[in-house]
């Protein structure tokens, strides 16, 4: 079986080599550049990363149905924030709101706050507006808008997933401590963003 598999793999490799088309490299613009710009935008901003991971962590900490409701609500509401940013509708204190989201969500995890699901959704949704607004206003003019939107929505969702995956440790006592500790780190990072230290 291993021998046949090796032969098949060799056949596949040779076939790929023989059917290669010329590589038409891109210039960093268009779909590829747009996707990369959108995908990296939430990742390269530590305030965004902290808050997105906190959403996933808190969702996992609260358990079902919050574990999926929060990551579903966040991108939908975030898009409204991005719409406001793109259309130039003024929303005050965007950076403060983003930093505050890390503080509040971090503290929710530290103190194991378990509000009704609709309250959790409203809190997360309110902060999503600030994050979406920042993404919307910072959309680079040179990149493909569709690819940028796809990139930053997927990136945001994957950051939630990281938070959820880490948050699943709450099943074990030591994991619960670790998750609450991570919430504390996020809250402290939020304070640093808020005060301008970071």
């Amino acid at each position: 079986m291993t021998h046949r598999l090796a032969l098949a793999l060799l056949g596949i490799t040779l076939a790929y080599f023989s059917s290669a088309f010329p590589g038409l490299a891109h210039t960093g613009e268009g779909y590829g550049g747009g996707f990369v710009a959108g995908f990296t935008h939430p990742i390269l901003g530590w305030d965004h990363v902290a808050a997105m991971v906190a959403v996933g962590l808190w969702g996992a900490f609260l358990g079902a149905p919050a574990i999926w409701i929060l990551p579903v609500v966040f991108p939908l509401v975030m898009a409204f924030g991005a719409v406001a940013g793109i259309l130039g509708i003024p929303i005050p204190a965007i950076e403060t709101g983003i930093a505050l989201s890390a503080v509040v969500l971090g503290l929710m995890i530290v103190f194991a706050v378990r509000p009704p699901i609709w309250v959790a959704a409203v809190i997360v949704g309110a902060f999503a507006i600030f994050h979406g607004y920042a993404h919307g206003t910072e959309l680079p003019a040179t990149v493909n808008a569709f690819a940028y939107a796809v990139g930053f929505v997927i990136s945001t969702g994957l950051l939630h997933l990281i938070g959820i995956a880490f948050g699943l440790l709450v099943r074990w006592p030591a994991g619960r401590t670790a998750v609450r500790g991570a919430g504390g780190v996020i809250a402290l990072a939020g304070v640093a963003f808020l005060t301008g230290v970071a």
Partner: protein, 201 residues
């Protein structure tokens, strides 16, 4: 033939280059162009994916209403639409509504879901009207769009159904809802970019 050898054929199929053969029926190439048309722009592709996610959320006895409404609405769109109309904003808005329903209330509010799928089908049909030209060519292209849109929805629905049946974990349903939320968010962003003007979009 072993599974491994069957897989060895795959790269030949994936690496196939374009065939420059003549069309056996004059004008038939328009049919194939029309078949791909429902997935040829971001607005249409997002709407089609959203409708697939929405329709797959309903129990099997209710799915038939979606598949009855969609082709009828697509035909109406092909008849009543105009090739010069800019339907992207309407399609992005409908895609957002479809995805929001699929993400927040899958399998519920059935009448609204059927209405949204019908609206989506109408828009896909109306967006598939070719520019002026010989009637025969236009009919070929529009027929292709009708078939492509319906087959596309059927395949999307089928793929999601197979996923749900083969993997019965709760996570699959959650992942589909999250995917619907993502597609909805992208649609709303594209709508805003379109409304903000060509300088941004």
């Amino acid at each position: 033939m072993t599974r491994a050898w069957r897989l060895a054929w795959l790269p030949f199929l994936l690496g196939a280059g374009p065939a420059f053969a003549h069309s056996p029926v004059p004008g038939l190439e328009g049919f194939y162009i029309g078949m791909l048309h429902p997935f040829s722009t971001p607005a249409q592709a997002l709407l089609m994916v959203g409708m697939g996610l929405l329709a797959s959320g309903y129990a099997s006895e209710r799915e038939r209403y979606h598949f009855a409404a969609f082709p009828v609405a697509t035909i109406l769109g092909l008849i009543l639409g105009s090739s010069s109309a800019d339907l992207d904003p309407a399609m992005f808005a409908t895609a957002f509504a479809v995805c929001a329903l699929a993400a927040l209330a899958p399998g519920r509010v059935h009448l609204l879901a059927v209405a949204l799928v019908a609206l989506g089908g109408f828009l896909i049909g109306a967006a598939s009207i070719p520019d002026a030209g010989p009637l025969r060519d236009r009919l070929f292209t529009m027929s292709g769009s009708l078939v492509g849109a319906n087959l596309g929805l059927l395949y999307l629905f089928g793929i999601i159904l197979v996923l749900k049946q083969r993997f019965t974990w709760d996570w699959v349903g959650i992942a589909l809802r999250v995917a619907a939320a993502w597609v909805g968010a992208i649609s709303l962003l594209m709508l805003a970019l379109g409304l903000a003007g060509p300088a941004v979009a």
